[in-house]
């Protein structure tokens, strides 16, 4: 479907003042006596001392799109600190540590662990009563309450926030683990 309209530029919010009037910034700019370099310098000084007064309708950004950005900013969280948990694998002599926040999906987490321990690991699927790849091993974790849980049941964010340590468990032991 081709729409005949272009989705155009966007808009600013209304600011205090009569509709259509611009503020001091306009008179500054139309003052041709000031050279361009002076204007720039003046602006730079201004931005540190006083907040620049917004000009109505500039930049030409529709309020609709501007509001999206504000909403998105509020719910964004920059992942700055790591979140390392111990990982053990049944039969392996050493434990490892991984940064849970680094992984964007369960698939990525699994791949990283398989690489680390050089062994395929499955995510346990109730339906088949078996792991995804027929491996002997299954990924489990200890949550905040101290219970051992199967990895994959809850959304990734929830898992990351409640996981205290990981254990790559032998499949035969995992069968004893029920889910709710």
């Amino acid at each position: 479907m081709t729409t005949i309209y272009e989705n155009n530029d966007l808009a600013t919010e209304l600011r205090l003042g009569l509709p259509g009037t611009t503020d001091e910034s306009k008179t500054e700019l139309s003052n041709n006596k000031r050279s361009s370099s002076d204007l720039n310098h003046h602006d730079q000084q201004d931005s540190s001392s006083t907040p620049k007064v917004q000009i109505v309708g500039w930049p030409p950004v529709r309020s609709y799109r501007k509001n999206i950005v504000i909403q998105t900013k509020n719910s964004n969280c920059d992942i700055s600190q790591g979140m390392y948990v111990k990982v053990s694998m049944d039969g392996a002599p050493y434990l490892r540590k991984i940064d849970l926040r680094f992984y964007k999906s369960y698939q990525e987490l699994l791949k990283a662990l398989e690489n680390m321990f050089k062994h395929p690991i499955g995510i346990y699927l109730e339906k088949e009563g078996n792991t995804t790849c027929g491996s002997n091993y299954v990924l489990t974790y200890e949550d905040k309450d101290g219970d051992w849980m199967l990895v994959g049941d809850v959304p990734l964010d929830m898992f990351i926030n409640s996981c205290k340590r990981l254990r790559i468990m032998k499949g035969c032991e995992a069968k004893g683990l029920g889910c709710i």
Binding site: Y5, L10, N76, D153
Partner: protein, 583 residues
């Protein structure tokens, strides 16, 4: 030709010739195949026969300025209209420069259409004032109504949409985009009758209220011809998955919220749903798609031609990975949060790119320098030689960069550059940006639309007047030095149709230099310039076929704060509010 068989000369009766060789039915049949309204306008000027044949066969009406003509005049001329496109307010109303209740009300049109075009099927409105009562009137007056598209309109609420859903039994398109509307509730979606199944296009991405996901699922299941579905941000990923499995035939998809809330099985199911959508050409939405879950899209990206990330403040890391899966991209809309690195990736990953729009995530944030710079733009131009349309918001630019860009991409038809700090010079040389736009107009012979910004002297406008011979739309802000600039444009740009100017030192002399020009244009907008009421009155006197309107401030002085001039065959507006002075 054999000279002995030469025919004797006789006088030929031309009217006989045309009558006997070209019956009306043939003319009408041929003209009914002409779709473009511009071609039809030309055809109607050939002679009376063609004018009549054309008016009887026109079914689609395009009116770029609703006040240039009246509904009565339209109804008299065209008896068989099925589809109407109407545009109302001046474009700067998108940026709050036009007060509320300015006009462009649809009701006067609907009243006439209801009498003359009871079989009207399509109505596409842009920047019109539309009330709930009008929507209800529309829904009940036109029984075969199929297509409603509302873009940048205002004055209605979701109640009006409910009327449409409830009464338009043959509806195929409902497209509600970025309107100034009252989002009361999502119950409108549940107003579609249970047996309603004709929908092909549904776009409610810009509505905020929650709809019933069950109702939407059932609707999507019934509408087998659904090809465009754009949901709002209240639809979660797991809900989206259920919609996708019911509509794998979609060509355009606007997702809901992309916040991570899936179990690993749900993730796998969503991935599978996307990979089953073999026909997707357009993806938009993607709210909150910061870095998680974008990979579910990858399977559907191979045939993607339009990726609209202008609702997602995506960062360069995940953007790069997504782009690697979109080699067929022709149109890309994105926030400047992807930064120059992101745009470099565009240059390397998207060789077929024709359109790029980069929107500012923080248009009013001045202290921190972020977003994109000139090097991002240059990088795209280097890798995407087919670029024709660009909209670019940035905080710094150089003349040299723009010259490089147009050397790389000489086929620009639309060049809209917004350097966000008004009157900012080339940041490396401190010179005006005249040479940048000079390069654009000299190199891009097909340029139709230009938006300029930065520190500009009259030289920019000299260049535009001299070289931009195909220019139709020009937007100017905080630029120029004297009347001479505007005069150059009015004299030189023979194809100019729309000129919008704000905050420039152009006065009466400039305004009046366009006396010969304005009747061949759709409109002129000048706000916060140096034009006075006297100048406007003079224009109105000299050109009675122009509507010269001034939107007055509360000040009683002589300055014409906002001037809007347009040609019209309908005479001065009869519905002008008190703050609009018609001269």
């Amino acid at each position: 030709m054999n000279p002995t068989l030469k025919k004797p000369r006789e006088s030929v009766d031309l009217s006989e010739l045309t009558q006997s060789t070209f019956p009306d039915e043939v003319l009408e049949k041929v003209l009914s195949l002409v779709q473009s309204h511009k071609d039809r306008n030309s055809a109607s000027l050939v002679c009376k026969d063609w004018y009549n044949a054309e008016r009887w066969t026109r079914t689609k009406l395009f009116i770029g300025n609703c006040y240039s003509v009246s509904p009565e005049i339209v109804a008299r001329r065209f008896p068989k209209i099925k589809s109407v496109t109407l545009k109302g307010k001046p474009r700067f109303s998108d940026f709050n420069l036009v007060p509320e209740n300015w006009g462009a009300d649809i009701q006067a049109w609907l009243d006439v259409f209801a009498k003359v075009y009871p079989f009207l099927e399509e109505l596409r409105l842009k920047r019109m004032a539309v009330s709930d009562e009008s929507l209800e009137f529309l829904a009940k007056s036109f029984h075969g109504f199929k297509v409603l598209s509302l873009l940048s309109c205002d004055g209605f609420s979701t109640d009006g949409i409910s009327s449409i859903a409830a009464h338009c039994k043959s509806l195929t398109e409902l497209d509600i985009q970025e309107n100034g509307m009252d989002d009361i509730s999502g119950s409108w979606l549940s107003c579609f009758p249970d047996d309603f199944a004709s929908l092909e296009v549904l776009n409610f991405a810009s509505l905020n209220s929650e709809i019933s996901i069950d109702a939407l699922e059932r609707l999507v299941s019934r509408c087998k011809s659904l090809r465009v579905l754009k949901v709002n941000k209240n639809v979660t990923l797991s809900q989206l998955q259920r919609l996708l499995v019911r509509a794998p035939q979609l060509i355009e998809l606007g997702t809901g919220c992309f916040l991570p809330d899936l179990t690993s099985r749900q993730y796998a199911e969503l991935e599978s749903a996307f990979s089953n959508c073999k026909n997707l050409h357009t993806i938009s939405g993607l709210w909150e798609a910061t870095y998680r879950y974008l990979p579910v899209l990858y399977a559907a990206c191979a045939s993607l031609t339009f990726l609209n990330l202008s609702y997602a403040t995506i960062r360069s890391g995940e953007f790069l990975k997504l782009l690697a899966h979109c080699p067929s991209l022709r149109r890309l809309w994105v926030f400047d949060t992807v930064k120059d690195e992101g745009l470099e990736a565009v240059g390397t990953s998207c060789p077929l790119l024709e359109e790029l729009r980069v929107f500012p995530a923080d248009p009013f944030e001045e202290d921190i320098v972020h977003g994109v710079t000139e090097s991002g733009f240059v990088a795209v131009s280097a890798g995407c030689p087919k670029l024709q349309y660009v909209l670019y918001f940035c905080r710094q630019m150089t003349n040299a960069a723009v010259a490089t860009i147009v050397r790389n991409c000489p086929d620009f038809t639309h060049f809209r550059l917004c350097i966000m700090n008004p009157g900012q010079p080339d940041y490396m040389t401190n010179e005006p940006m005249d040479e940048a736009f000079g390069a654009v107009v000299k190199t891009c012979k097909k340029l139709q639309r230009l938006s300029v910004s930065g520190l500009l002297t009259d030289l920019t406008f000299e260049y535009i007047g001299r070289y931009a011979k195909n220019l139709e739309t020009l937007s100017v802000a905080f630029a120029g030095r004297s009347d001479w600039g505007m005069q150059c444009v009015l004299e030189g740009c023979s194809k100019l149709r729309k000129l919008e100017i704000r905050d420039c030192p152009f006065g009466n002399a400039a305004l009046l230099s366009g006396l010969e020009k304005y009747e061949s244009m759709r409109c002129l907008w000048m706000s916060a310039c140096s034009v006075t009421m006297n100048g406007c009155r003079l224009l109105a006197q000299e050109r009675p076929r122009l509507n010269v309107e001034v939107i007055k401030d509360e000040n009683s002085d002589d300055s014409a704060d906002k001037l809007y001039v347009y040609r019209s065959v309908a005479g001065p507006r009869r519905d002008a509010p008190p703050f609009v002075v018609t001269l």
